[in-house]
Symmetry: C2
Subunit: 353 residues, 2 copies
C-alpha cells in the first residue's frame, strides 16, 4: 500500500441496490410508486425559466419548506429538507448522536442505519425483533445514545401504533428519537401529533414513495426548532446548497395537489389489499403490510428460487440474503396490470413445479 | 441544557452567503454566470418524461459521467460527481484526509476548507500567502496530511502555472493533493494533464461558474481509479443517490454544447479584460484575474464604504470582513450592460466624494 493510500478512509463499500433498466421489465424491487408525479410537476418543468439555473438556489429551499409548512401546519423553522430521506437521516446521524452510549435500532430494519453509524463512528446496538418480526418495546427503555425506528418497519412492512411510539419517546426524553416514516402514507399512523409534546422527537418522511418522486431526491424531517437548527448548522458546514432548483420548485408543486396524492396512495393500498388475497391463495404468507410492498414467504418454495425465476421473466423483486429473512421476498405494489402479471407468472410456476 | 441537547453535535453554524432576490438588482456577489445554460437544457426540461421521476436515478449518474468521460477523454472510473463541488470537496475531505498530520491550505482561500476540516475533525494548518496574495510554494513541501489548493485561488483571482502545481504534486507523493479548479475555464491552466502521471492528484471542477448551472448543483472530480473508488465507497455509505434525474440529464446535455460553452466563457473573459481597464481608470487596483471576478481595492475609498453604497443601488458585490482582505471587493463579471451600470455608479460616487 502506498503512503497516500494509508491516508484514505478504509471503508467497506456499501453497494446500492440493483437498478435494472429494460423496456419491458416489471420493476418492483425498490418500492417506487407506479404512478407518475402530480401533473403540475410536468407543467412546471415545461415552463421552467432556465435562466433561474444560473443562480444558486435558495440555501434553505424556502419555497419547498414553506409549502411543507402550509400542508402540514407546522412552523418552517421546524422543517429540515435534504437530498432524499437518506441525506436527511445521514445528517441526523452526524448531528444528533454525539454520545458515547450506543444508539438503538432493530436487527431487521432499513439497512442504512448501521452503515451511517459506522461512517460517523456512532456506537450502536441492534435489538432483535421477536419471532413475528415485531419490535419489543422493552428493548428501547434503557439508557442509550439515541433511538431510530422505521415505522412502518422495512422490509417487514409492519406498523406500530401511536401509543407504542409515544411510550418510547416519553421514556427516552434524554435522547433524540428518530421515527423514519418513509412508508407512512400507505396506512400507518404518523408520530407527527407527538411533535407538540416532545422536543426530542424527529419524524422523517420522503417524496420517493407516496409522492412518486424518487428521481427528484427529496426528503424532510419535522422536529423541534432547537434540533432542526442543529441539523442545519451541520448541513450548512457541509454544503449550503443541497437542494437544486428543480427539486425545490417541483417538490413544492407536488405538495399542492392533495387530491392526486390521495388518489394515488388509495390506488396502491387497494392493489395491495387485493394482492394479499391473491398471494395467500398461492400459498404465500406475510405480515399485515401498511406499506407499498409485501414481505412474503411461500409455504413450500424457497424465496431465492422464486426470486431467480421472476428475474428471468424480467420481474425484479427484492431478495435479502440475510439471516432470519432469507426466505422472504419484498414485493413492491405496482399497477394492477403489473400485479396481475406477477400473480400469473407465480401461479404458472407453482402449478408446474 | 437538557440531556438530549448534550448529545447534539456542537458546531458554530456556517452562515451561507447572501442570496438577495430583487427584480431590478445586479447580483454580482456569488460569481454566477450572467448567461443562461446551453439551449439544449431548456429543450430537455420541456420534453422531460416525468414518469422517469418515479424511479430512483442511476446511483453512478452514468449518463453524466459518460459524457464527462467523452468530453474530457478520461475513463469513467476516474470521475466522481456530486451535488456541486462543495459536495465533491466535502466527500474528499471525509475520504482522503484520515491522517493525524495537518492538511495544508492558504490562509486566504475558499472559506469552506477549514469548515470541512472542523466538521470531519481533520487537523489543518493555514499557510500565509505572501504580501501580493501569492502562494509560497516552499510552504507545501514539508510533511503533511494532504494539500488543498484553489487554482485560480479565490477570492484573490490569482492563478499559478502548471509547473508550479506539478512541483507541489511531485514533492507530495505521500499525500492526496486536491486542486480546486472552480474558475479554471476563465483562463487558468488546468492540472488535468498531470493526472496521467500522479495517482495522488485530484482535480475538482464545477458546473456552477463556467457552465451557468449553479442552480442545478453539479460538481465533479477527476483522479486515479483507486482514489475515486474510495470516495464513492464513502459517498455510497452516506447516500447512494445524490444526483437527481434532472441534474444527470441536464448536466450531460450541457456538456455536449461545446461551442456555446466556449462562446460564453469568451464573453465573460472579454468583459473582464475591459473592466480591468475601466476600474483601473477609476483608481482601483487588483491582481491579474484569471477568474470570472475581480478582487479590487480602491486607492482612497474604503471597500466597506463602496460595498454599502453599491448595495443601496441594488448592486450586490461581495465584501469579506476578514483580516488582510477587508479593504477589497470581490466583483463578479456580469453582462456588459450590468458592468456599464456598475462603472457608471462608481464613477458618479467617486467624482462627488
Amino acid at each position: 500500500m502506498k503512503k497516500w493510500e494509508e491516508k484514505l478512509r478504509q471503508i467497506t463499500p456499501y453497494v446500492p441496490g440493483e437498478q435494472p433498466d429494460f423496456p419491458d421489465m416489471i420493476k418492483i424491487n425498490t418500492n417506487e410508486n407506479p404512478y407518475p408525479p402530480a401533473p403540475g410537476v410536468e407543467k412546471l418543468l415545461k415552463e421552467m425559466d432556465t435562466k433561474k439555473l444560473t443562480l444558486y438556489p435558495n440555501p434553505g429551499a424556502k419555497l419547498l419548506v414553506d409549502e411543507l409548512s402550509k400542508q402540514y401546519n407546522i412552523a418552517p423553522e421546524r422543517i429540515f429538507v435534504g437530498v432524499g430521506s437518506d441525506d436527511v437521516l445521514g445528517m441526523i446521524f452526524m448531528t444528533c448522536f454525539s454520545s458515547d452510549k450506543p444508539i438503538l435500532f432493530p436487527d431487521i430494519t432499513y439497512s442504512f442505519y448501521d452503515v451511517w453509524a459506522d461512517l460517523f463512528r456512532v456506537p450502536y446496538k441492534r435489538m432483535p425483533l421477536d419471532e413475528n418480526f415485531c419490535i419489543k418495546k422493552e428493548d428501547y427503555l434503557g439508557e442509550n445514545g439515541g433511538i431510530v425506528l422505521a415505522n412502518p418497519n422495512a422490509p417487514t412492512s409492519i406498523a406500530v401504533g401511536l401509543d407504542f411510539i409515544e411510550d418510547i419517546v416519553k421514556n427516552n426524553q434524554d435522547s433524540i428519537v428518530v421515527v423514519d416514516e418513509a412508508y407512512i402514507d400507505f396506512g400507518g399512523e404518523s408520530a407527527f401529533p407527538l411533535l407538540e409534546k416532545y422536543e426530542n422527537l424527529l419524524v422523517v418522511q420522503t417524496f420517493s414513495k407516496s409522492r412518486s418522486m424518487a428521481g427528484m431526491r427529496i426528503g424532510y424531517a419535522f422536529g423541534s426548532e432547537r434540533v432542526i437548527s442543529a441539523i442545519y448548522a451541520v448541513r450548512n458546514s457541509y454544503n449550503s446548497y443541497t437542494m437544486n432548483y428543480p427539486s425545490i420548485v417541483c417538490g413544492a408543486e407536488a405538495l399542492k395537489d392533495v387530491a392526486y396524492f390521495k388518489e394515488c396512495t388509495a390506488k396502491v393500498i387497494a392493489t395491495r389489499e387485493r394482492m394479499k388475497k391473491e398471494l395467500a391463495e398461492l400459498g404465500f404468507s406475510f405480515p399485515d403490510s401498511k406499506t407499498n410492498f409485501l414481505f412474503a414467504t411461500h409455504e413450500s418454495v424457497p424465496a431465492v428460487e422464486l426470486f431467480e425465476m421472476l428475474r428471468e421473466k424480467r420481474i425484479f423483486v427484492r431478495y435479502f440474503k440475510t439471516p432470519r429473512i432469507d426466505n422472504y421476498l419484498r414485493i413492491t405494489i405496482g399497477t394492477d396490470a403489473q400485479m396481475d402479471r406477477v400473480v400469473e407468472v407465480l401461479k404458472e410456476y407453482l402449478e408446474k413445479r
